[in-house]
């Protein structure tokens, strides 16, 4: 079982997790605030829209009820023009969230003004033909009311007529108008300016409607047009609210992305954790050897310093890598930490293998164990963090529990391994014991045979005893034993005669 400890990586991972979470939580908070604000704006806009439609409907109501309208049917368009002027202007303002500035309030049925804009009196004059509007409309009214058009109050005339007048004043040519009419218009402008003592454009201003738009037969279409414009404008405002919010949210996200500054912060914290734990371990080990801090030599302190630098470097790298993994992939801090642990462990093994300190088999075996261990720790730390929602502590407890579990498993499993080993050893010795019986029999057969042959040979080739009969008999026995053809074995005088004397 490898002795790799995962706590340092898990602790640094925990810190990285806290910093990441802080940033993400801050971002989430801002995004939620932004969304809420967006909703409130949209709600308000919906209210404005409803109000605007109400204003538009006021014109509709007015037009649908001809009783309300003063004067003859032929001149009813004048009141329609007033209603349009007041309510459509208000509808547009309300839609934009502004207060209504145009009102009939405080205007008597026979007062010189028709309505008030921002408290200023306005008289609306809609006559057929420009000169009728200027002459019969404005000049006559100025004659009737001596201060109107001279004390800040002014006249509204049809928009199209006003535009034509502007062209006349600018000396532009106008289709469909005779020179006489143009001259008349110029004359009327001069009269109005003379009587008011102000420029024409100060006294006379365009209304929102053209002359024909306010006529009874057409006005419904005009109102529909305004309503449509209100709707379109409403949509546009909604879109711009949504676009603004989206832009703002994107800005928030960009501002809360992982940053080099933050990465360096975690590298720094990692270095401190790594360095500090190395120092503590170093001092702890020296204390275990029986040295008290007062006994530490300068060399001892030097080794503490070296350990600190090494631990700090490793811790820094750990912090940086974990920060990178957690922010640029979907991997959580506990698993990222375990990955870093495994990487360090495998790197160490690879180094040992390269230096020939461990064999390839050991490298592979220990690498497998390490990855298994890291995988288990990754799961354990993640589970710990979920079950114990205290930052760092959860992951560390999970790691500790997993390590204990793995150690117990390892003990249990190596016990089992030893059992298997014993079984295999027994199988081998039993097989060899069985075979040995057969083998011993074979060996004794071989030895017996050679002993037997050896004894006969001794007699066959012992010529000192001067006993040729024994020599011959032994030679016969040997020939028989070695499988010489029986017919070729010489035994008797006859055999001698046949062989030598024929």
């Amino acid at each position: 079982m490898n002795k790799k400890n995962y706590y340092q990586e898990q602790a640094i991972g925990g810190v990285a997790n806290i910093i990441n979470q802080d940033r993400v939580q801050e971002m989430n908070k801002l995004v939620i605030e932004n969304s809420k604000y967006q909703n409130s704006l949209l709600q308000k806009q919906d209210l404005n829209f409803t109000e605007a439609l109400k204003e538009v409907n006021k014109v509709r109501d007015f037009v649908n009820n001809p009783k309300n309208i003063l004067g003859s049917d032929l001149t009813k368009h004048g009141e329609v023009a007033e209603s349009l002027e007041v309510h459509i202007r208000n509808a547009k303002d309300v839609l934009e969230g502004k207060i209504k500035v145009v009102t009939f309030e405080g205007v008597g049925r026979t007062a010189p003004e028709d309505y008030l804009i921002n408290g200023v009196d306005v008289q609306s004059k809609f006559y057929n033909g420009i000169n009728n509007t200027l002459n019969k409309g404005i000049l006559e009214h100025m004659g009737k009311y001596e201060t109107f058009g001279r004390n800040g109050s002014f006249y509204h005339i049809p928009k199209d007529q006003y535009e034509t007048i502007e062209k006349v004043m600018n000396g532009e040519s106008i289709k469909g108008l005779t020179q006489g009419t143009i001259d008349k218009i110029k004359d009327n402008i001069s009269k109005i300016e003379l009587r008011s003592g102000q420029t024409f454009t100060d006294v006379v201003k365009p209304g929102i409607s053209n002359y024909n738009e306010v006529q009874l037969g057409i006005v419904h279409k005009t109102i529909d047009g305004h309503e449509e414009a209100v709707e379109l404008r409403h949509e546009k405002i909604q879109n711009s609210i949504n676009d603004d919010s989206k832009l703002k949210r994107e800005t928030i996200k960009v501002e809360h992305q992982p940053s080099l500054d933050e990465a360096l912060k975690i590298v720094g914290i990692g270095a401190i954790i790594g360095g500090a734990s190395s120092i503590i371990l170093n001092i702890y080990e020296k204390k275990k050897e029986g040295k008290s801090l007062n006994d530490f030599s300068s060399d001892d302190w030097k080794s503490v310093g070296v350990d600190f630098s090494k631990g700090a470097a490793k811790g820094g790298v750990t912090g940086g890598v974990i920060y990178g993994i957690t922010n640029y992939s979907d991997i959580g801090a506990p698993i990222a930490s375990a990955m870093v642990s495994a990487s360090f462990g495998v790197a160490k093994l690879a180094e040992a293998y390269k230096e020939g300190k461990i064999s390839q088999n050991e490298y592979i075996d220990q690498g497998q164990l390490l990855c298994l261990d890291s995988g288990a720790v990754a799961l354990g730390a993640t589970a710990g963090q979920v079950l114990i929602p205290i930052p760092i502590v959860g992951a560390l407890v999970g790691t500790y529990a997993t390590k204990i579990f793995m150690t117990i498993s390892a003990k249990h499993l190596s016990k089992k391994s030893n059992e298997i080993k014993r079984i295999l050893d027994r199988e081998y010795s039993e097989a060899m014991a069985r075979f040995n019986v057969h083998y011993q029999k074979l060996i004794s057969e071989i030895l017996e045979e050679y002993e037997n042959v050896g004894g006969i040979m001794k007699i066959a080739f012992d010529f000192d005893m001067n006993n040729s009969v024994l020599n011959l008999n032994a030679s016969i026995e040997l020939a028989e034993l070695h499988g010489v053809d029986k017919k070729r074995i010489l035994r008797t005088d006859n055999d001698f005669e046949d062989y030598f004397l024929l």
Binding site: A383, K421, E427, Y428, M432, Y439, L447, H482, V484, L501
Partner: protein, 292 residues
């Protein structure tokens, strides 16, 4: 924990057993070579001399060299096999050059040079030559098994790493469950695999152990044969010398006439018959094989 020690241990022990077998195999081969040389020597240095002597006495020429011929026939048979062995040897050498010493050690034929193959063939006999060579150089088979086992472990290791990475990428409770099960199952599989390898290695070790015992028995047999043929051929030479030293026989040989029964004493007749029997026995010893 993953039965890795179990596996490595078993493989290590198998390797040791394997090298024990190699060592005893080499000893058997060199004993065979010694026996082979001794037999060649006897076939040219003793049998023709005895044959000459007998024919100087016998009225009709007698041949002993049918045994020698038999030996040559056997040798010719072996030679064909040796040629095959030589060819394989050369080919294996070429392969070995390309792939390094590991293969040279792994290919059994290389371990058995042509001369040794001849010696082994004559010692163990035609029928069993192929089997004998493979028994002596069984390293090939076992090494192939080792290579398979090693490769298997490597492949499994690779899978383990890849599996680990896939696991680390998993997230969420479902991922954890999958991860937990994979970890457990992976551990179980790896243990099973290593245990199986250990068992196989143990099985091969038993086989190798038996082969070592058989080679031991063969070695005893070969040494027995070697001693036997030495004693026997020395005995024949001694007998020949005694007969050649007999003045009576020498005078008979010098008289160029047909010998009759009464020319020989009883002892001389018996000794001459014994010599013929002994030379016939020696011829049989030249082609005797290890039968066990």
């Amino acid at each position: 924990m993953l039965n890795g020690d179990l596996k490595n241990n078993a493989l290590e022990e198998l390797k040791k057993e394997e090298s024990r077998r190699e060592a005893i195999g080499k000893t058997v081969v060199s004993a065979s070579e010694k026996l082979y040389k001794k037999r060649q020597n006897i076939s040219v240095a003793i049998i023709p001399v005895v044959e000459n002597y007998i024919n100087s006495i016998a009225n009709t020429p007698r041949e002993f060299d049918d045994a020698v011929k038999k030996l040559h026939i056997s040798y010719n048979k072996f030679k064909a096999q040796v040629k095959l062995a030589e060819k394989a040897y050369e080919e294996a050498k070429i392969v070995a050059k390309g792939t390094g010493t590991g293969v040279a050690a792994g290919v059994g034929v290389v371990a058995l040079a042509p001369g040794a193959a001849m010696a082994v063939a004559t010692t163990f006999g035609t029928a069993s030559t192929g089997a004998a060579i493979s028994a002596l150089s069984g390293a090939a088979a076992t090494n192939a098994a080792l290579a398979w086992i090693g490769g298997g472990a490597l492949v499994a290791g690779g899978g383990g790493m890849a599996g680990g990475n896939a696991l680390l990428a998993l997230a969420g409770p479902v991922g954890w469950s999958i991860g937990l099960v994979s970890l457990g199952f992976g551990t179980y599989l790896m243990r099973q695999k290593n245990e199986k390898i250990a068992q196989e290695a143990n099985g091969v070790k038993v086989k190798v152990g038996k082969e070592i015992a058989i080679l031991n028995a063969s070695l005893i047999d070969i040494n027995g044969m070697s001693l036997e043929i030495s004693t026997h051929s020395n005995g024949v030479l001694k007998q020949l010398k005694i007969l050649e030293g007999s003045n009576a026989l020498t005078s008979i040989i010098r008289k160029f006439r047909k010998r009759t029964f009464n020319d020989f004493s009883k002892d001389e007749k018996q000794q001459l018959m014994a010599l013929v029997n002994n030379v016939n026995s020696l011829s049989m010893l030249l082609v005797k094989n290890v039968k066990r």
